[in-house]
């Protein structure tokens, strides 16, 4: 079942809240901004500004500025999975944290609470209140770890 481009219910269904939030803060919903939001919405993993600007044929500047604005207003965040550009994701469903496999490139988003026990350990041991938000937790995923065990 194909949906006409004018409708795109999936996208607009949940972006509505985001857009409302924008408007309340005096931000406008320009075409580029809407496109950026949609691109983030349909992405299944964090994406770079350049990926967005290429796919949408938008000026990178505009993409960067939009991402920055959206981030400043709490709708978007960025992470670093490894080297390379910052990667952006929507912040609609609560704050995820990322596990990144440096061998196969797998990215697992996990809800922040899933790492509470880990954070608790670090707090006990070192007194640090950890935020895994900005940097991914880097390592090798189960599959890749096993491949190199034998």
């Amino acid at each position: 079942m194909t949906v006409s481009p004018e409708t795109r219910p999936l996208v607009f269904a949940t972006l509505t809240d985001a857009v409302a939030a924008l408007r309340q803060r005096g931000l406008r919903l320009s075409t580029p901004r809407r496109l950026v939001l949609e691109a983030l919405f349909v992405a299944d993993r964090p994406v770079s500004a350049e990926q967005i600007s290429e796919r949408l044929k938008l000026d990178p500047t505009s993409v960067y500025r939009n991402l920055e604005t959206l981030e400043r207003h709490g709708l978007v965040r960025h992470v670093h999975l490894g080297h390379g550009p910052g990667l952006y994701a929507l912040l609609l469903h609560g704050e995820d944290e990322y596990l990144f496999c440096e061998r196969c490139g797998a990215v697992s988003a996990v809800p922040a609470e899933a790492l509470d026990a880990v954070r608790e350990r670090v707090r006990e041991r070192f007194g640090y209140e950890v935020h895994f938000a900005h940097f991914a937790i880097v390592g090798t995923c189960r599959t890749c770890s096993q491949e190199h065990q034998p």
Copy 2:
């Protein structure tokens, strides 16, 4: 008690091993390379290539290349504490991992084993074999956390 610049026992005492390792691999100990090693040795926290090149009045290119070479040969590593340039440290006393306070900028180096329990938790829960080596563990240190509690 001041030590004459020709002696510098502290620096050369432990760098000797590193230098020996270099020689065995056919690497030379040029003046810039020795200076870079010394700069890393006396640094009390990871430093950027630019900091090194400025302080030593060396060409940044040379510093970057030396750091890369030394890293490739296991004498040096780099970390990211937050945004900004990569930061380099000697790898003489085993692999430290870093806790970085994003509020006050404090950097705590802890021996990798100190985080074994944390790694264990992540392994259990997500199957990931974590390396905190490349990205620091970012958060707020005890002091800064308490300041914002009341």
